[in-house]
């Protein structure tokens, strides 16, 4: 169904429910949907599972959501950073669950969810502790691990521009997890710097077609 243009981040995240799995874009702060996360904090949903490459930087964005105690579990590839003190503290105190996923598996498992792939075999992680307990198979002489899709109830994405149909373009390396998360969630919410008229984005350069986008808000 067509994307809806929201007047505020608060309107955009109004329907997020307690216990949801929330995919949050960004690699560090590049592409992090800070205004949507701030609105989610005001909205109050709790008991969340958050899927994001990192586990928050400094005290804003995802780190602020974590600090409020709203996140039950993080699924990410690289929680430990120089400025990830909020996550570090919660983890050491046993107040947050962590599922560590190799970054490529994180991306590919969300792609699988979006692309209707039931499961896939990958050599990434084979023979390491992160594949423990998973089904394995030798294919062409190489050990592979079976990985399952990661689906979100909601995706929160920071992008550059949208048109009124919800077509999205990103900027430089802030693109990162946005496009794949947009495909993997039941409801995809995108904050952009600017909403332009239909026809103003180059059809050859649209990265996330409006089909994947449920709500757009300019911030």
């Amino acid at each position: 169904m067509s994307a809806r243009l929201c007047v505020s981040p608060d309107e955009a995240v109004a329907e997020v429910e307690d216990g949801s799995t929330v995919l949050i874009g960004g690699f560090g702060m590049a592409g992090m949907p800070v205004q949507l996360i701030d609105a989610l904090i005001r909205q109050g949903a709790t008991g969340l599972t958050v899927v994001s490459n990192n586990a928050g930087n400094g005290d804003t964005g995802l780190a602020a959501l974590l600090a409020k105690g709203r996140v039950r579990k993080m699924i990410c590839s690289f929680p430990r950073q120089v400025d990830s003190w909020v996550f570090d503290g919660l983890y050491r105190e046993g107040r947050i669950e962590l599922e560590l996923v190799p970054q490529g598996n994180l991306a590919e498992r969300m792609r699988a969810a979006g692309a209707g792939i039931g499961a896939f075999f990958t050599p990434t992680g084979a023979g390491t502790p992160l594949a423990e307990g998973r089904e394995t198979r030798e294919i062409d002489g190489r050990l592979h691990v079976l990985e399952a899709p990661i689906r979100g109830d909601v995706a929160l994405i920071g992008a550059h521009r949208a048109d009124r149909m919800g077509n999205i373009v990103y900027r430089k390396t802030a693109r990162n997890f946005g496009p794949v998360m947009a495909t993997a969630a039941r409801s995809t919410i995108v904050q952009v710097h600017e909403v332009v008229d239909i026809g103003e984005l180059d059809p050859e350069a649209v990265v996330t077609p409006g089909l994947y986008v449920d709500k757009v808000v300019a911030v």
Binding site: G116, M165, L211
Partner: protein, 225 residues
């Protein structure tokens, strides 16, 4: 007693596509549905060779060989269009992101099995294209077909005898004589054209239910994700 023409069936399908839907129209007869979509309905057409917001056939002399639909016919681009490669296009279809697809059929079973790619004839050259991906991927799979084959045999059947395209995937059948919702192994007759429920019950060998007096036909869809 006379049923709908093919064009009237196409108009009926177009009427039932909810505003704002993302829709794929299969090659052949379903392509005609586009002619009946009302401007401003916001219905967006997808073509599996890699485009969203596909427009109608171009004016004579303005064919662009790089811009075709899945039937390799020339089409146009509407504002808001986007292009993508075949893997991305099929990911869209297979991932359950299309609201509706409309396909032709040789046979449909009461449980929603679809046969539309191969008659099984020994000398036929088989070709499947994107039919199997659409059948399993779209949230609602509408079939357009005549209800009876030229030899008089019904095409809505207890079990398909032609090779399958997909299992339990069709949600609704639009035919010249009636519209059926396929739910739980039953075909619910929603509307009839030039015939009656009782007549259909005599001529078809599938579990039927009379839904002609139900108000607004709902839009059945599989919950894919």
């Amino acid at each position: 007693m006379s049923g709908l023409t093919k064009d009237e069936i196409a108009a009926l399908v177009a009427r039932d596509i909810p505003p704002g839907s993302y829709v794929n129209l299969g090659i052949g007869l379903p392509t005609q549905v586009a002619d009946h979509l009302v401007d401003g309905s916001g219905v967006v057409l997808h073509t599996e060779n890699g485009m969203l917001v596909m427009g109608p056939r171009p004016a004579e002399g303005e064919h662009d060989p790089d811009l075709t639909n899945a039937g390799k016919q020339p089409v146009t681009e509407l504002p808001g269009a986007s292009y993508f490669d075949s893997a991305a296009s099929f990911a869209m279809m297979r991932g359950g992101h299309l609201d509706v697809c409309v396909l032709g059929a040789f046979q449909v079973s009461a449980t929603g099995d679809l046969a539309n790619w191969h008659t099984g004839a020994a000398d036929a050259i088989p070709a499947v294209g994107g039919a199997m991906d659409l059948a399993i991927g779209a949230r609602s799979v509408f079939v357009m077909m005549t209800l009876f084959a030229k030899d008089g045999s019904p095409k809505l059947v207890p079990e398909c005898t032609y090779p399958l395209t997909g299992v339990a995937c069709v949600t609704r059948v639009y035919s010249d004589l009636a519209v059926f919702d396929l739910v739980g192994g039953e075909a619910i007759v929603r509307e009839t054209f030039g015939t009656t429920y009782d007549d259909l019950e005599r001529r078809l060998d599938v579990p039927l239910r009379d839904g002609t007096r139900a108000p607004d036909p709902p839009h059945p869809s599989k919950e894919i994700r």
